[in-house]
């Protein structure tokens, strides 16, 4: 089983819908420890991405990811724009020219994206950021692939690890971003970026894993 370009397009639309559905929830999380714009910013950015999809609908997966990355960078703003934008731009480097991705290729693609986020944001595991959700998701995906799991099984395990990583941000003290200014007061709140990342991996598992 592989991930087709059409499945990638379908996922991006599902991701945009899921973020819009959870817009107020993301904003509420962000108002507790940030600047209360994560829901609005991500909704605006993904909406712009979906509007841009028809122009790349007949291109390779790398072109789709690159178009999404550039759109996110120019429409989201704040810290999330460059971080999610970098994720997609780096995912484009490993999916360039491909019309479908095997599980192994998706592992490499997600890894390239996450490495881009690490370089751009200079966050470490435990800093209370999206990395705390994405890194465990990648580890779970890799482990599942190495153990010979099916695509849908591997994506499910990856999404579950991402959600667990999101939940694990609650007790953490933020060391990056605007939440870090709160110091100890940031503990007890779930990180908004880790939350939107978990939504991303959840929609991937739902859309790519259903066939």
């Amino acid at each position: 089983m592989t991930i087709s370009r059409d499945a990638v397009l379908e996922w991006l639309k599902a991701f945009a819908v899921a973020i819009e559905t959870q817009k107020d929830y993301l904003t509420q999380l962000d108002s507790e420890i940030g600047d209360a714009d994560h829901g609005a910013n991500m909704t605006r950015g993904l909406k712009a991405c979906v509007e841009a999809l028809p122009s790349v609908a007949d291109k390779d997966i790398g072109s789709v990811f690159k178009a999404v990355g550039m759109k996110l960078i120019s429409t989201v703003g704040g810290a999330s724009g460059p971080l999610y934008g970098t994720l997609f731009l780096q995912m484009a480097t490993t999916s360039n020219g491909k019309l479908e991705l095997s599980l192994a290729e998706w592992v490499a693609t997600l890894e390239a994206g996450i490495n881009g986020v690490l370089t751009r944001g200079r966050a470490n595991l435990g800093d209370k950021t999206m990395i705390d959700a994405l890194s465990p998701a990648l580890v779970a995906l890799k482990t599942a692939a190495a153990n010979g799991a099916s695509l849908s099984e591997a994506l499910r395990l990856s999404a579950e690890a991402c959600a667990a990583g999101r939940d694990a941000t609650i007790p953490l003290v933020a060391k990056k971003g605007r939440a870090s200014y709160l110091g100890e007061r940031s503990a007890g709140h779930q990180d908004p970026g880790a939350t939107s990342s978990a939504i991303m991996l959840q929609t991937i598992a739902e859309v790519w894993g259903k066939a």
Binding site: L83, S180, Y181
Partner: protein, 333 residues
């Protein structure tokens, strides 16, 4: 919410249209992506100096575009960082062949967006340097936070750096001047009232009638402490003492004093506060040799003030005195 607006969505755009018409002799405004740029840009052989940040801090940064200061400024949505496509286009518009300096306030969003823009500009063959300002002593600087915020020093750095660029110094030298201003400058602010972001529609934070927030950020971020309102001389002490101790400023130092209003505080109070700060400085043997008093880095309609001190030497003093012609700062021309 009571504001002079038509629709919260259009505040930035409609304000930019006003700026473009009012100051057409100095600047023009590019839309989509939004940036304010000198009419004579790119100036051949001169380092281009650009800055940017969320809107709502006017006149910073657009009001500082013009001869002797910024070549371009990129306004984001209110209190939201601008995006790399804005900085990239502004960088291209001001590149006169000598490279472009980005002056960035230390906020995670601003830093990340400017870094991406610098990467994109370098990929197009433009030499770019960036200086991140981080002068706010209210935030503890440590490895465990995003670091000190960039506030009042940014205004002074833009003026002094712009003057250095006007002298046709190299990109490396211009960046060095900017770093020096940041290294020798410290700030601290306070709020008497909150501010209301147009698209939020309600005050960013609640502050009871008889309380104030010491160490406030320029987006209404929490400060060091909330306490009962005090006299101007006591507030001046609370703001100035941590600044003096931090650098530290010493007896015999000559300083530029920047008494800034947050947007909702009248000039009569700013001059009164300046006088209080000056008394404290005199008590420490520190001499104010240059001053800037007024609302230049604001938080919408927030009432309150910030104090910035920059230690001066002959070079910085000369660059501060150099001619400037922008909508908000103008002298020597």
């Amino acid at each position: 919410m009571k504001k002079l607006i038509n629709n919260p969505e259009n505040v930035v755009r409609e304000s930019l249209e006003g700026v473009a018409d009012a100051h057409a002799d100095i600047l023009r405004v590019n839309y989509d992506p939004n940036f304010v740029v000198r009419t004579d840009a790119p100036v051949r052989g001169k380092v281009g100096v650009i800055s940017g940040g969320g809107s709502g801090h006017e006149p910073m940064h657009g009001g500082f575009v013009g001869f002797g200061m910024l070549d371009a400024a990129c306004p984001g949505a209110v209190f939201t960082s601008p995006t790399p496509d804005q900085m990239l286009e502004a960088t291209k518009a001001v590149n006169g062949g000598a490279g472009v300096l980005h002056i960035v306030k230390n906020y995670t969003g601003d830093v990340l967006n400017f870094e991406m823009a610098a990467d994109l500009a370098r990929a197009e063959g433009i030499e770019v340097e960036a200086v991140v300002t981080n002068d706010d002593v209210a935030v503890q600087d440590s490895l465990y936070t995003a670091g000190r915020r960039g506030v009042g020093v940014t205004v002074l750095a833009e003026k002094i750096t712009g003057a250095a660029a006007e002298q046709r110094r190299s990109l490396k030298e211009v960046a060095e001047v900017c770093r020096k201003v940041n290294a020798q400058g410290r700030s601290m602010g306070m709020a008497l009232t909150s501010c209301t972001v147009p698209h939020a529609g309600k005050p960013t934070f609640e502050l009871p009638e008889d309380e104030m927030e010491i160490g406030i950020g320029i987006h209404g971020e929490p400060g060091r402490k909330r306490m009962k309102i005090a006299s101007a001389s006591e507030i001046a002490e609370m703001l100035t003492k941590p600044i003096i101790e931090d650098l530290p400023f010493k007896s015999g130092d000559e300083v530029l004093v920047f008494m800034n209003g947050m947007g909702g505080t009248p000039l009569i109070e700013l001059y009164l506060m300046y006088n209080e700060v000056n008394k404290i400085l005199s008590g420490h043997g520190i001499k104010a040799t240059r001053r800037l008093i007024g609302s230049y880095i604001t938080s919408l309609e927030m009432a309150g003030c910030s104090v910035t001190l920059v230690k001066l030497d002959d070079e910085l003093t000369r660059l501060w005195d150099a001619p400037v012609k922008t909508p908000a700062l103008r002298w020597g021309i």
